[in-house]
């Protein structure tokens, strides 16, 4: 397995070890230190993918994260990952990669014929073509487009790897480890600041990795940083977004360079970094020039070719032509020359440069004032066509590598995320960071500075300033690289060669200079509009290399300056981040924590069938055989109506309220009066929102003179406490009241049914449960099985009922003692479904009725509104619309047919005639009744109480169901309320 394009010496790879890998099922080998890109190039693989729209052959265009073209599917099976840039994929033993977006093979791609009709596929093609008929979109056009376009395929199986989140804080975050980043981190670190230094590459050094002359300085800087205890180095970590309040997001590729993560290790982690100051030393990205066929495999950024030679010891081609508008390309050309690449010519659009002499000294031809007008070769560059810019004949130069340098764009993306405005730097023809909007500063090439020594000095300054800004003023000096001479890039703004053919301004989304001009002609003159119309700069690379070319073409078409046209706003993410990383540990049942009642494991052991209600897990019903349907529910409900049942109601919100003014406070909180409640008594209360709509309900008990225990619904527990805190802190701070959530302190169980007293008398000690001593709404303390209990005589089922509360740790013991005592009386545990059945039969309201739209009057609670005294919502509750007699109001409904065959459904419309479409209201809650042996429910019906006795229809058009019902009082069971007082 030879690597024909590998240099014999040089670079940062370990030639003593070989790493086998596969690309498109062919076996190759590279070395530790390689990226997949450098290993492919070393093996002479030039064609690595097909383009998005035209399926044109594409090669490796860059040597970094800005890569637009060389995207592959990495790994196999469940770990397969699409759209991975070969230029950042670290090579490992056994790596498998497949080219994507081609069929049936990379070399022969059927869809490439779209290239032949491509002149009909211009900007806005999809918008214009696939509009009509509209019915075709979903069935025909979208599937067609999705198959033809799109990038790689995602794995079908669940990802076997773990991902996680990490939170970090620092005084100074430095992004990038080139000369500027290393210097900034060291300066800030030496001053004593807590520093995080993040680098997207697997090696620290940025551009220094291609500068052997500065290797010892790089190493000494890393050694110094490693020795600082408060400096954290994060290689393989891309800072992908800069958010409000100086929060930055980063993804660390912990194990992307390994076949599988380590035991108990994660694949990637997402860092949320709260930085007091940030130094953006993100470098600069070289940009290409638009000319016909500038996307052919073998066309490459000049700096990338140099990186492959110097860092990876790879010749990206054997015979190169360099096309440039600036002096940095000359250094790269000389590096290629030194690596044994024949540099056939430097085609320079400028009329003169002092660097030409260096080329001549190496016998490299320089053609000043010239331009590249085309490329020969389909799947790979074979020759380059050039001409003088002032006219003249086309000349063709044989070459297999065409290096392009159109100047450099400072990597301003992170700064742009903060909404800082960019500034145009005419000297380098590029946008540079403008005034900061957050606590950040840029340094080095990210600031438009060229040259290692000047970048290091800039980084040092930025590091000192950032540290000083947060109080660390004692930075120590350290050696900086020696100035390297002439760093002036002498960029001549030059963006496009105007010649016949496809000149790409976005390689990943296949946007050409002509597309931009067409968009302009069709009225998309604003850069943001042109971007969306053409998809220019919208691909995963966000136009990092060639985005400026499209802007320049648009500026040219508008006849305005690039500065005036501007660039589309950069948004997170700087480079793509996988969903898995963001999901982190929040997958499967870890999406949210499970909240368990103190009786949870009893339910589990005793065949509870669970339902998630919010975060809670609650037993729906109990069934050893895991029955489905109504049988277990009816069984449990009958036990309550006929004997006794026990239900876990620990989820009810419980708030301890203490203070000398509790009575006043509760009177203002509830629509009814609590200050008159006697110690040892409970009362049902209703709360309104400020707008007069019902907020919550529940019973509140007076435990002592200045102490109440409030219960809320399960769903509103936290909201009610927040509501109380808000009013106490902002409206009535003078009231002496203090709140404490005690939901978790208590296990609470409702014991209900005609035989409840008999059952409880068998286990409760220290409390007389007789009706005389402990009447309805009584509250008292006792013990069960040696455990303290507090018993509330309240009922949600309509039966005689006692709620037994015990400190949570005793929940199971008390529950089992009650079950034991109730056994002779036929006790059964009942779940949420039977609880619901019973409350609907009784006509108690719950979530479906307290739906945020209903008033106390709507629900028949007129009597609970006290005559005197203010309470929250009182004024708004009397708004005319809320008093409209035509409003839907709560009633009961019962199926006329008792056979159970035609079921009622929640959400059904109430109508006067079976076929009517004039809705009078809706069904809120339904159940099969054990008491009345038919379907029944609750409904909100216009002038409902006036219709009691009428027959209406519950219509459910989605299922073509119409059920005739009788309108009744909501209280289907025991309307006189005698049972609860028995």
């Amino acid at each position: 397995m030879s690597q024909p394009h590998r240099l014999a010496v040089g670079g940062r790879i370990d030639r003593s070890r070989s790493l086998p890998f596969r690309f498109d099922n062919r076996a190759f080998a590279g070395h530790p230190g390689d990226t997949l890109a450098s290993a492919l190039l070393a093996n002479g693989v030039r064609l690595v993918g097909r383009s998005f729209k035209y399926h044109r052959p594409r090669g490796i265009f860059t040597a970094g994260p800005e890569e637009p073209s060389a995207l592959v599917e990495l790994r196999t099976g469940a770990r397969q990952e699409p759209n991975t840039r070969v230029t950042t994929a670290e090579l490992f033993d056994g790596l498998e990669a497949m080219s994507q977006h081609r069929w049936p093979s990379l070399a022969f791609d059927v869809s490439a014929v779209t290239s032949l009709v491509s002149r009909f596929l211009g900007a806005g093609f999809y918008y214009k073509t696939f509009m009509w008929p509209p019915s075709f979109w979903e069935k025909v056009y979208e599937p067609l487009i999705r198959r033809a376009a799109g990038l790689g395929r995602v794995a079908a199986a669940p990802d076997p790897d773990a991902y996680e989140a990490m939170h970090a804080h620092c005084d100074v975050l430095v992004v990038g480890t080139g000369a500027a980043g290393l210097a900034a981190a060291r300066a800030a670190g030496s001053a004593g600041a807590r520093v995080i230094l993040a680098e997207q590459d697997f090696e620290l050094g940025g551009g220094l990795l291609s500068e052997p002359a500065h290797e010892s300085w790089r190493q000494s800087m890393i050694a110094a940083l490693t020795a600082m205890p408060e400096v954290r180095l994060l290689p393989r970590t891309t800072v992908f977004g800069f958010y409000e309040h100086d929060v930055l997001g980063a993804v660390e590729r912990v194990a992307d360079h390994l076949p599988t993560p380590s035991d108990h290790g994660v694949r990637q982690r997402v860092w949320t970094i709260r930085a007091r100051q940030t130094v953006l030393a993100t470098g600069a990205t070289e940009r290409p020039i638009a000319f016909p066929d500038n996307d052919r495999p073998g066309v490459m950024l000049t700096s990338a070719a140099m990186t492959y030679a110097r860092r990876f010891g790879v010749r990206a081609g054997e015979r190169a032509v360099v096309f440039a508008n600036n002096d940095t390309a000359y250094d790269a050309a000389f590096a290629l020359h030194d690596a044994g690449v024949i540099v056939a010519a430097i085609i320079d659009v400028r009329k003169a440069t002092p660097r030409a002499d260096g080329a001549y000294a190496r016998n490299i031809a320089v053609r000043l004032g010239s331009e590249v007008i085309g490329v020969r070769g389909g799947r790979q560059v074979s020759a380059v066509a050039i001409r003088a810019r002032n006219g003249g004949a086309e000349r063709v130069i044989d070459a297999d590598l065409l290096c392009v340098s159109g100047g450099w764009n400072p990597a301003v993306h992170l700064q742009s995320h903060t909404r800082a405005k960019l500034a145009w730097d005419k000297k380098i023809a590029a946008f540079v960071p403008g005034s900061p909007a957050q606590a950040e500063r840029s340094a080095g090439a990210a600031l438009g500075i060229f040259g290692i020594a000047r970048s290091a000095a800039s980084g040092t300054r930025a590091g000192i300033e950032a540290a000083a800004a947060v109080g660390f003023r004692q930075a120590s000096a350290f050696d900086l690289p020696a100035p390297g001479g002439d760093d002036d890039p002498r960029v001549e703004a030059f963006w496009q060669v105007k010649a016949q053919g496809k000149a790409f301004v976005d390689l990943q989304n296949d946007v050409t200079a002509d597309d931009i001009r067409l968009a302009h002609r069709e009225g998309y003159v604003h850069v943001e509009h042109a971007k969306r119309y053409t998809t220019h700069g919208m691909a995963t690379d966000q136009g990092k290399t060639s985005g400026m070319l499209g802007v320049a073409v648009l500026a040219d078409a508008r006849g305005e300056s690039i500065e005036k046209v501007g660039v589309p706003t950069y948004r997170p993410y700087v480079t793509p981040v996988t969903w898995g990383a963001f999901a982190g540990r929040d997958v499967g049942h870890h999406l949210q924590p499970i909240r368990r009642t103190p009786l949870h494991h009893w339910h589990v052991r005793n065949h509870g069938i669970f339902l998630e209600t919010g975060l809670w897990m609650r037993p729906l019903y109990y069934s050893a055989t895991r029955e489905t349907g109504w049988e277990p529910i009816l069984r449990e409900a009958r036990a309550v109506r006929q004997a006794v049942g026990i239900c876990d109601v620990s989820t009810l919100g419980k708030i301890d309220v203490q203070g000398r003014d509790v009575g006043i406070f509760l009177d203002r909180l509830y629509t009814n009066t609590f200050s008159t409640l006697a110690v040892g008594k409970a009362r049902y209360g209703l709360m309104l929102r400020e707008d007069g709509i019902v907020f919550d309900d529940g019973t509140t008990s007076r435990i002592a003179e200045h102490r109440h225990l409030m219960t809320t619904t399960t769903a509103k527990a936290a909201e009610v406490l927040a509501h109380m805190e808000f009013y106490h802190q902002t409206v009535w701070p003078e009231l002496d009241v203090r709140f404490c959530a005690v939901t978790d302190q208590w296990a609470q169980m409702s014991v209900a049914g005609p035989k409840t007293r008999l059952a409880l008398q068998g286990c409760v000690e220290g409390l007389d449960l007789s009706n005389e001593a402990f009447p309805f709404m009584g509250v008292g303390d006792g013990t069960v099985a040696g455990c303290p209990v507090r018993i509330y005589r309240v009922s949600f089922s309509g039966e005689m009922a006692y709620e037994v509360a015990t400190p949570a740790g005793y929940g199971e013991r008390v529950w089992e003692a009650i079950l034991e005592a109730g056994k002779p009386h036929g006790i059964l545990p009942y779940g949420l479904e039977a609880l619901g059945l019973l409350r609907i039969e009784k006509g108690h309201v719950a979530g479906p009725e307290l739906n945020g739209q209903t008033t106390a009057r709507d629900l028949g609670f007129d009597k609970m509104i006290k005559k005197k005294g203010d309470f929250i919502g009182r004024v708004s509750a009397d708004r005319p619309r809320l008093l409209d007699p035509d409003r839907p109001r709560l009633v009961g409904i019962r199926a006329v047919d008792p056979s159970f065959e035609r079921r009622l459904r929640g959400g059904a419309h109430m109508v006067e005639k079976a076929a009517s479409t004039n809705s009078l209201g809706w069904v809120t809650s339904i159940t099969r009744s054990v008491e009345l042996e038919r379907w029944l429910g609750l409904a909100m019906i216009r002038r409902g109480p006036e219709r009691i006795g009428q027959r209406l229809f519950a219509a459910y058009p989605l299922k073509n169901e119409v059920v005739e019902v009788e309108v009744t009082s909501p209280h289907h069971v025991d309307p006189e309320n005698l049972r609860v007082r028995a």
């Binding site: 494991h601 939901t743 978790d744 740790g809």
Partner: protein, 200 residues
């Protein structure tokens, strides 16, 4: 009153043993079986109450975002004029009763011994374990022995108290979420290895 043994809110699966990666320097996780009473003083009651606590426990009420220790007892600030008093487990309700007896009407005393659970997390990597879910800066420059913060981790509201410089943290949790939080903690500690110790 002496009541029967309480059931742990951490569930039947929380057994002592080794979890996660082997070797290295594992963190330890211990359920602390304690009594917890939440006290909330009215504004004018705070000063006299501080004296009462000092007399009763020898502890000064800590200022905001702080905890005070005395042997195995601890007082943690949790809200303005509000503290958690934590002591090794005694008779059911005794701590609350004792405090209520001396505190007077202007201080609300609420027993949370069953409503809250405490995990002690200790080890050189404890900070890194918490950083996977805790947004509070736990760096020694920002969070010291005696620091306390109430925050959310894995969607669960917890109070973090630094107990010593190892570092060791006491994590005060809502009991209904104790099992879910322990699951999160074991998952987050897995890469360093983790020793679940018998409850103390």
């Amino acid at each position: 009153m002496s009541a029967p043994e309480r059931l742990s809110p951490f569930g039947p699966e929380a057994k002592p043993g080794r979890h996660g990666a082997a070797g290295g320097t594992p963190v330890s996780i211990t359920e602390r079986r304690v009594d917890i009473v939440q006290v909330t003083a009215g504004r004018e009651a705070e000063a006299p109450f501080a004296d009462i606590v000092k007399d009763a426990t020898g502890l000064s009420l800590p200022p905001a975002h702080q905890a005070a220790f005395s042997g195995e007892a601890m007082v943690v600030w949790v809200q303005p004029s509000g503290w958690l008093m934590i002591k090794p487990r005694g008779d059911e309700g005794a701590l609350a009763k004792a405090l209520a007896g001396v505190a007077g009407d202007a201080v609300a005393v609420v027993d949370q011994s069953h409503g809250k659970a405490v995990l002690r997390l200790s080890g050189a990597r404890a900070r890194d374990v918490l950083a996977k879910g805790c947004r509070v800066d736990l760096h020694p420059r920002a969070f010291l022995t005696g620091s306390a913060a109430t925050t959310t981790v894995d969607h669960i509201t917890i109070t973090v108290v630094q107990v010593d410089a190892i570092p060791t943290y006491d994590l005060i949790l809502p009991a209904n979420f104790a099992e879910a939080f322990l699951e999160w903690l074991l998952m987050s500690a897995a890469e360093f290895g983790c020793e679940v110790r018998p409850p103390t």
